[in-house]
Each structure stands twice: as structure tokens, then as C-alpha cells.
Symmetry: C2
Subunit: 218 residues, 2 copies
């Protein structure tokens, strides 16, 4: 596996913020292809083309701090996937957001599973909170596109269940050598979204109204 970020020569003068971003990129490139337990600060220093003490100067908390910062940066990237202009049919917007999300999963495979699976030695309630924040952001984006400001419990639960199912699908997809093809997976997930909302619509007026709008809006 080839790490994604090319090492930057150490002699280049970087600002503090540039250096921080460089180290986080190096860490993310490594976490993308190896579980966090198998990445050392030496690896990060080597990947970034800097000395180990320099990594410690930026992340005095060591690996745990670097991991959390890298996780936060990955979470920010994931949130960007959900940014979708409020134009065109709703299901087309969902399709585009899923395309970006699945491209992220595809590009960060091992790191993504290690992160979501938990059970790692560096898993803490803080890292869980970062992951939960991404889930919450996904749910908020969906509600906002649906034009719902106050989701009732049934609609809220349905959307959160679907988000969890998408996560599970991503992990299984990575385990199964990225089969089925990503476009099929994406369409399948969109159709499941409509299907589970339709089930909820049978017992919830708010959801029923939305499903009418979704299906009519093509």
C-alpha cells in the first residue's frame, strides 16, 4: 500500500499551521492504510520527512493526541462530504453526497474501519464523541435538506437507523473487497432510504408527507 501524502523535505520552512497540517496529513495517510495500533510516531515522522522530536513538539501528548487530531481532521473531511447545494431533486442530492462519502471510505479504507470498529487501544470516550459528532452532522444535513426543523421521534429514529446501516454497509463493503461496485452500492443505499421512510410513513404523518414529496420530486 502506498501512503498518499508525499514526504515534504525537512529543510522547507513551514509556518506553525502549515507544519501542523503537514503532520496531520502524514498521520492520516498512515492511519488510512493501517490500524492506529500499528502506526508509531517514528512512522509519522518518517512519512512527513521530519524528526521525531519535531512531531513531539507539535503533539506533546504523543500518539494519543496525534491520533485524536487526525481523527478530528478526518471527521471534518467527512462533514464536507455532506455539504450539498440545496438544488435539484432531493434524491439526486443524496446520491451526490453518498458518492463523496463512499469515495472517502474507498480512499481511507483500513483507517476508516479501524476508526468505526473501535476496540483499538487508543479508543476513548473522546474519540467516540468525534465519531458520534459526524453521525449527528449527517442526520442534521438530511433533516435540513428535507426541510424538517423539528423531526418527530419516528422520523428521527428512521434517519439515524439508516445512517448506522450505511456505516455497516461501508465496513462490510471494505471487508468484501469493495463489492458490489460503488455505483450499485450507492443506488441501493438511496433506495433503502426511501424504503425505510415509506415503512415509517405508515405510522407517522410527518414522514408520510416527506415520502410524498421525495417520490414526487424527480
Amino acid at each position: 500500500m502506498t501512503p498518499q501524502a508525499a514526504p515534504t523535505p525537512a529543510y522547507r520552512r513551514l509556518s506553525v499551521e502549515e507544519r501542523r497540517v503537514q503532520l496531520l496529513d502524514a498521520a492520516l495517510a498512515l492511519f488510512a492504510h493501517r490500524p492506529p495500533d500499528e502506526v508509531s510516531l517514528d512512522d509519522v515522522a518518517e512519512q512527513a520527512g521530519v524528526s521525531r522530536p519535531l512531531v513531539y513538539r507539535y503533539f506533546p501528548g504523543g500518539k494519543q493526541q496525534l491520533y485524536e487530531a487526525a481523527l478530528r481532521s478526518a471527521a471534518d473531511e467527512l462533514r464536507l462530504c455532506f455539504d450539498e447545494p440545496r438544488e435539484g431533486p432531493l434524491l439526486t442530492r443524496l446520491t451526490r453526497a453518498l458518492d463523496r462519502y463512499l469515495a472517502f471510505v474507498d480512499g481511507h479504507d483500513t483507517g476508516f474501519s479501524a476508526l468505526l470498529r473501535g476496540g483499538s487501544v487508543v479508543e476513548t470516550s473522546r474519540t467516540s464523541a468525534i465519531v458520534d459528532g459526524v453521525r449527528r452532522a449527517a442526520a442534521e444535513h438530511i433533516m435540513s435538506h428535507l426541510g424538517v426543523t423539528e423531526p418527530g421521534p419516528r422520523l428521527g429514529m428512521t434517519v439515524r437507523m439508516w445512517i448506522t446501516a450505511v456505516e455497516a454497509a461501508s465496513l462490510i463493503w471494505l471487508d468484501e473487497e469493495k463489492q458490489p461496485p460503488v455505483e450499485e452500492l450507492r443506488d441501493w443505499l438511496v433506495e433503502q432510504f426511501v424504503a425505510v421512510l415509506s415503512v415509517t410513513a405508515r405510522r407517522d404523518a410527518q414522514t408520510a408527507e416527506l415520502v410524498g414529496a421525495l417520490v414526487g420530486d424527480v
Copy 2:
């Protein structure tokens, strides 16, 4: 909150196996209502009406060992929920299994969420493996009732996604003061099962055949 197992007086003579079961029951009763981090060995000794050294004699690995043993015992209980005679319509069997599962969730609320949410200080790859084992058992039971010995990737992924969605629903349900009522939640989950399988059936012959059988079998 009242723990469920009544303390047994210490003077009763128990066999080694009886004592072990008694201590596990005491631990489970405590973990059922408090996150593992907040349960001490003293609490377990008090709950079981025995001395702390006795708890250590049975679980020399201390809290971590006791927690894992209690988790394994809860996992066994959960697996029992999936045991369903191969009689009657398939969806009726699924309904009965979900009734037992949701009764378990209802009875072990806090402990169940702490367990599934992870992020606890006693969360390890071993405890994750126990939880994954229960998920796998659930999928195997479903396949076996459906009469499927070799699930294709699309059917397999659909069933595993639904199991994850059920887990998510259970956690949300506990968070939202057990609303909607358990019977509604159960029927809703069964309907979602049929709905997601129907979506998969559009692109998978194996699943299409099953959905035909499920819907015809009432």
C-alpha cells in the same frame, strides 16, 4: 433502580459452579443499570452478599475478567432470544424473536447501552469480539430460518445492515425513554426487514425468491 438478583446469604454452601453463577448474576444485575466504569468489585461482593476476597478467588483477573465473563453470560442470554422453533410463518417467528430481544434490552437498559456503545475503559478487542459474535449469531439464525445455506453478498449485507439498524434502534429507544411502545417498535422493525429485502430483491435473484416466500407465507 432496584437490582434484579436478590442477595444470597453468605452462609449458604454453594458448589464452585453455583458460586460462579451467583457472582455473574450479581455482576449482570449491576451492569444492567450502571455503566461498567461505575461498578466496583466491592459493589459486586455486596450485591452477592459475599466478601471481596471471595470475588477475587473466582475472578483473579479482577474487574476486567469479571466484566468479560458477565458479558459472555449476557451474550449467551441474548443468543437464547434468537432460539425460535422452525414452525409457523417466518415473519411471526421474527416477531417472537424480536419480542424476546427487546425484553432483554428493556431489562438491561444501561448495561446494554454501555456495552454496545463501547468507549468504556474496559472495552477491549476481546469484548468487541463477544459483541460481534452475537451479531454473527443473529445473522446465522435469520439465514437458517430463511432456509439459506449460502447467502450471496447482497443478501448477506442486507441482513447484517438490518441487524445493525435494530441495534441502533434499541439504543435510541433506550435514550428516548422507551418510546414508541415496544410492540410498535417490534412491528416497525419487522416491516423494515421486509422493506430492505424488497429493495435488494430488485438486484438479486436469491433475495427476490425469499421475498416472494416471505410475503406469500402468512
